[in-house]
């Protein structure tokens, strides 16, 4: 239900005029789709580790950069893209 909660946060904040981007794990892609969230990056990571494995700052930075790039590139929503690479990067 966490992903639905964040989906509602995304919609409310964006409706108030602030751009949002969510980083979702693949298992909850359907939540971003059903809730028509403005911008969502999907990572092929397991529950509880949406940015990647612990102590892998290069993977965290790559996911974070992909989320920023989505904010720059998306011209309309819902915009949903897949993060390249698996859990190991």
């Amino acid at each position: 239900m966490c992903h639905v909660s964040v989906g509602h946060v995304a919609r409310a904040v964006e409706e108030a005029g602030v751009a949002t981007v969510g980083v979702f794990v693949a298992a909850f892609r359907f939540v971003a789709r059903d809730m028509s969230l403005p911008r969502t990056l999907i990572t092929s990571h397991p529950f509880g580790r949406p940015l990647g494995p612990a102590n892998r700052p290069e993977r965290h930075a790559a996911v974070f950069e992909a989320a920023l790039a989505l904010v720059e590139a998306a011209q309309s929503g819902p915009a949903l893209i897949e993060m390249p690479g698996g859990f190991g990067g």
Partner: protein
């Protein structure tokens, strides 16, 4: 009486085995759960010889996806036809960026004390997941420059083992700060936010969100990074 296979697979979801990384087994019917466990054991066996657990990890992730797939024709609990849209009005290199996660992080000395209970442990939070799902969420304000040692995490709905080792897997403060240092973004908000996302949707939307939105706007945040778990 011997435990049935159905009882076994369901026990990972808030049951006697309670491993939230594998709570997805409860969502699979017995035949599919048996196939999942068989494949996972096969991958463990293969890893003895390959020395790599990458295939095993990918397999578990694939079964998590399969278990939660609502399937065609399923009626979503929450569905919306259009997306709200408010692109940033300036380049990212000039934007103030914030972070809000549902990971259940909070600062030491500022425990949100669910249900008024001080020092609630992770196992206690897991045991009270039903109560969390009925209550209003509390948003914790976390100083951007908080030390790793002063960051706490507690959440009854997911396996926090990785978040305990490295908050960045769900609360990517370090990547956010690095992006500002490199000039990729303009600045980082002084305060970051987190809440336990397992909560009442009605109370979240009607009671909590209006104040949360005011807080975000008052902080002059141009872009908000959201991380659910």
């Amino acid at each position: 009486m011997a435990e049935s296979f159905e009882e076994f697979k369901n026990s990972f979801s808030y049951g006697s085995r309670g491993d939230l990384s594998f709570k997805f087994l409860k969502k699979l019917d017995p035949e599919m759960a048996g196939e999942a466990i068989s494949q996972i054991l096969g991958a463990i066996g293969a890893s003895f010889d390959t020395g790599s657990v990458a295939e095993l990890h990918e397999l578990v992730i694939a079964w998590q996806v399969r278990a939660y797939d609502p399937g065609e024709g399923a009626v979503p609990a929450y569905a919306y036809d259009t997306a709200p849209w408010a692109p940033p009005a300036k380049p990212l290199s000039e934007c103030r960026v914030g972070l809000l996660t549902s990971s259940g992080h909070f600062a030491a000395g500022d425990d949100p004390m669910p249900f008024g209970e001080p020092d609630m442990t992770q196992p206690e939070a897991v045991a009270r997941i039903g109560d969390f799902m009925r209550e209003s969420p509390v948003l914790s304000a976390i100083p951007r420059d908080i030390s790793r040692d002063d960051l706490r995490v507690r959440h009854g709905g997911y396996d926090i083992r990785s978040a305990v080792v490295d908050h960045n897997v769900v609360f990517p403060r370090d990547a956010l700060v690095a992006a500002a240092k490199s000039g990729r973004i303009g600045s980082v908000a002084d305060t970051l936010y987190s809440f336990p996302g397992a909560t009442s949707q009605g109370r979240l939307r009607r009671r909590a969100l209006p104040d949360w939105v005011d807080t975000i706007r008052a902080a002059d945040i141009d872009v908000l990074i959201l991380v659910p778990v």
